[in-house]
Amino acid sequence: MSLFGSLAISGSGMSAESERLSAVASNIANANSAVGGGGQPYRAREVVFQAVAPQDDASDDPSSIGMAGVKVAGIVESDAPTHTVYDPSSSFADSNGNVQMPNVNPVDEMVNMISAQQDYQANLEAFNVAKTLAMRTLTI
């Protein structure tokens, strides 16, 4: 039934948006982490969204493009240049006394967070509407 499909699609949207929010939280939390994985400074992470057909649908059917949920296709690390901070006292400083700091841009992260919040709310609204309609149908 279509209304359950709406619930599934909105659910996929909410889960994808919350993953995006997790990436923002991770970036903000590590904005000053001089050491991330592999001894390198932390790099900002971004989620990549992809539209997917519902599982019971033929995914290669071009006409079903309208019935797409969303999923996180992958998480990419930003290739923006890292900040260089002069701090000779740091144990991570190189021979010139420079420390490589993460390439997290707080402004980008805040904008991303607001956008994720709005999208999440929109998904939640659509979910609630579909739920209300399904309940209304039961009282016909």
């Binding site: 039934m1 279509s2 699609i9 996929s12 990549v48 949920g69 609204e125 979910f127 009282t139």
Partner: protein, 154 residues
């Protein structure tokens, strides 16, 4: 006799199914509001409904010539539920929204507009549900001869 008791209800069944289908499409637009390259789509409801109506009117006629009585469930097609639950060829009336603004990442979903359309569609779904209830009530009045008899809902 051509008319069956669900003749009027069948129309509402299609309206409800198509409204639910459109709600699903709008949900998909909303959930892909940040997906790069996603193009917003919508269902041409009026065309889909009239197409569903013309295709469903054909079926009882065929059934009646074969079985003689429409209301007898001796033809498998009368019990057949469409696989998607959506009448007609509704898929072919899903169209891209052409007038939307496309962002730099190739996404054409206007979140506010989608929300408004989804809300309007929900109200129209509720309206169709109410009409369905009233039609059932009318049938109940015709059957019982009294308006105070049990009704099919509010």
């Amino acid at each position: 006799m051509a008319a069956t008791i669900d003749t009027g209800l069948d129309f509402f069944r299609q309206v409800l199914a198509l409204r639910a289908y459109r709600q699903e499409i709008l949900s998909a637009d909303i959930s892909n509001a940040s997906t790069p390259g996603f193009k917003a789509v919508d269902l041409d409801f009026a065309s889909a409904l009239s197409a569903a109506n013309t295709s469903s009117r054909r079926l009882p006629a065929e059934a009646s010539t074969k079985s003689g009585r429409v209301w007898l469930v001796d033809d498998a097609r009368q019990m057949k539920v469409p696989e998607t639950g959506v009448p007609g060829e509704a898929d072919s009336f899903v169209k891209y929204q052409a007038d939307g603004e496309v962002t730099l990442d190739g996404n054409s979903v206007d979140l506010d507009e989608e929300k408004v359309t989804a809300a309007a569609n929900a109200v129209q779904y509720e309206a169709a549900a109410t009409f369905t209830s009233q039609t059932i009530r009318m049938l109940m009045i015709a059957i019982t001869g009294s308006g105070s008899a049990q009704s099919g809902g509010s």
